[in-house]
């Protein structure tokens, strides 16, 4: 079976600027994949190429194995939540959805169902210009759900949402994935994704820098050890003999590239007294920043 979303050597150039450079990845069905990168890394352009809105300069963007434009029934295949504010201000949320449903050949009952699903039934008949940002975002989600697709693509959906809105979205996506749906969600803030995603695709300056399970990313964060000993010099030698790299820290301790258990064993074998032994883990944010060159 084809991957829900796949990029093969996907490239987009705007004039002399390369927005997306030879991107290749495929996301797994039934999982939530975070699409991370600093602002301007090329996330939106990538998503829009996958959705057939932006033409690729090179490579392929595939949804269920086919270019978006070749999909027989796109609204029932993939639901997309693009950046907010793409509404005619004078039309009601319900009217907006009815137009989309008609264009997609979806029965209009689905409009009220999806409005209910995103808890927007109350203001559904009011003009969109009276909606808060959170309500507009939920209207976007409703539009994405019209065709009951099994794949949702969301572009920075948390932008501008208040904490309650973010919690609502997180719970919603979690239950969508739990019922077998696939989610691809972009963000420039790792923390938003860390509580949600099973996997992450990270891009930086138009290029892929990582595609791995979130656990692997967490694993990269763990692993270091700080150790302090009155006999630091000998400990360093013993560690080096065991093939473990250790560097002297400013505070007199040693920073060791091995888990604390291993450092403790080496010290015990050599009967070296330790005053401190603790595992050091970078935050996910630090790993993310390291991968993306410290830019946000």
């Amino acid at each position: 079976m084809a991957a829900p979303l796949e990029a093969r050597g996907l490239t987009k150039r705007f004039g002399s600027t390369t927005a997306v450079d030879n991107l290749t990845f495929a996301i797994e069905p039934g999982r939530i994949t975070g699409f991370l990168g600093p602002n301007g890394a090329g996330k939106t352009t990538t998503l829009r190429m996958l959705l057939g809105l932006v033409h690729a300069t090179g490579g392929e963007a595939l949804v269920e194995g086919a270019p978006y434009r070749k999909l027989r029934d796109p609204a029932r295949t993939v639901g997309a939540v693009l950046e907010a504010s793409s509404y005619h201000p004078g039309r009601s949320g319900r009217n907006h959805l009815r137009v989309l449903a008609t264009a997609a050949g979806i029965p209009s009952e689905r409009v009220d169902e999806t409005l209910e699903q995103v808890e927007l039934s109350g203001p559904a008949r009011r003009p969109v210009k009276t909606y808060s940002l959170g309500m507009r975002q939920r209207l976007s989600v409703a539009a994405a759900l019209l065709g009951s697709p099994s794949l949702l693509v969301l572009d920075e959906p948390a932008n501008g949402l208040d904490p309650e809105g973010i919690r609502w979205l997180r719970n919603f996506l979690r239950s969508f994935a739990d019922s077998g749906g696939t989610v691809f969600i972009s963000s420039h803030v790792l923390a938003e994704i860390a509580q949600l995603a099973d996997e992450v695709v990270i891009i930086h300056k138009a290029k892929l820098v990582a595609h791995e399970p979130l656990a692997a990313l967490t694993g990269r964060a763990a692993g270091g050890t700080v150790v302090r000993s009155p006999d630091a010099e000998r400990l360093g030698e013993r560690l080096a003999a065991a093939g473990i790299e250790a560097t002297a820290a400013d505070d007199g301790g040693l920073r060791v590239a091995a888990p604390p258990e291993r450092v403790g064993e080496v010290a015990a074998e050599a009967a070296i007294v330790l005053h401190e032994l603790r595992g050091e883990s970078a935050s996910l944010e630090e790993v993310f920043l390291e991968l993306t060159g410290g830019e946000r």
Partner: protein, 213 residues
């Protein structure tokens, strides 16, 4: 304008069917409204940013354009007919108030109604192509109006104004009744088809290549 016409003309001239036909001809303004409708339906989607969602549910862009051309042509024709009916009813009422016998059902008046409906259908369809070409609602409407008020009269310098889009619309409305400087109905219709096809073709080409960012 209808009342101006009815109240300013002499009673004797108003009794003429041809003069009464002019009472209905004011409904030709529906062709202009239909043009603006076409621009709003096409370029307005870019102005309001709804085009992305439209292309998500209907990714074959040429088909979206074709559907809009058809829908706006029908809407334009309906608008033309409704305007005629309104002008006719108002005209008849005003003529009666001056005790002028009403001849609004003459053959010329009926042909005019058909001409207006057809013209409004064409301007609506043209507006879709034109709006897709520019993708900016306000700019497209302003350019269309400036063309009609300034651009097209300038064609007169080269003696080709009767091929201008405004004159072509007039030739369909007039249906060969009057206006020696206009094309006859048949050729006028043919040129109108060319205008719609060219605007639609260029609009489709632009839509196909546009990145929706």
């Amino acid at each position: 304008m209808i009342s101006l016409h009815v109240f300013q003309d002499s009673l004797a001239s108003l009794a003429e069917p041809h003069q009464q036909r002019d009472v209905v001809s004011i409904a030709a303004v529906s062709a202009l409204i239909s043009l603006i409708l076409g621009i709003v339906v096409s370029a307005g989607e870019f102005t309001h940013g709804t085009i992305g969602q439209t292309f998500l549910v209907a990714p074959v862009r040429e088909r979206v354009l074709g559907a809009k051309v058809l829908a706006t042509a029908v809407a334009g024709a309906v608008l033309g007919l409704a305007s005629c009916a309104f002008a006719w009813a108002l005209g008849a009422l005003l003529l009666k108030s001056r005790s002028v016998p009403v001849h609004l059902f003459s053959g010329t008046a009926l042909r005019l109604v058909l001409g207006i409906a057809l013209a409004a259908a064409f301007t609506g369809a043209f507006g879709i192509g034109f709006g897709s070409l520019l993708r900016r609602q306000t700019a497209a409407i302003v350019i269309a109006l400036v063309w009609l008020l300034v651009g097209e009269p300038l064609l007169g310098v080269a003696q080709v104004e009767r091929y201008g889009p405004g004159h072509i619309v007039a030739s369909i409305v007039e249906a060969g009744d009057q206006g020696s400087d206009l094309l006859a109905f048949g050729p006028g219709l043919a040129v109108a088809v060319v205008y719609v096809a060219v605007a639609g073709g260029l609009g489709a080409a632009v839509l196909r290549r546009t990145d929706i960012t």
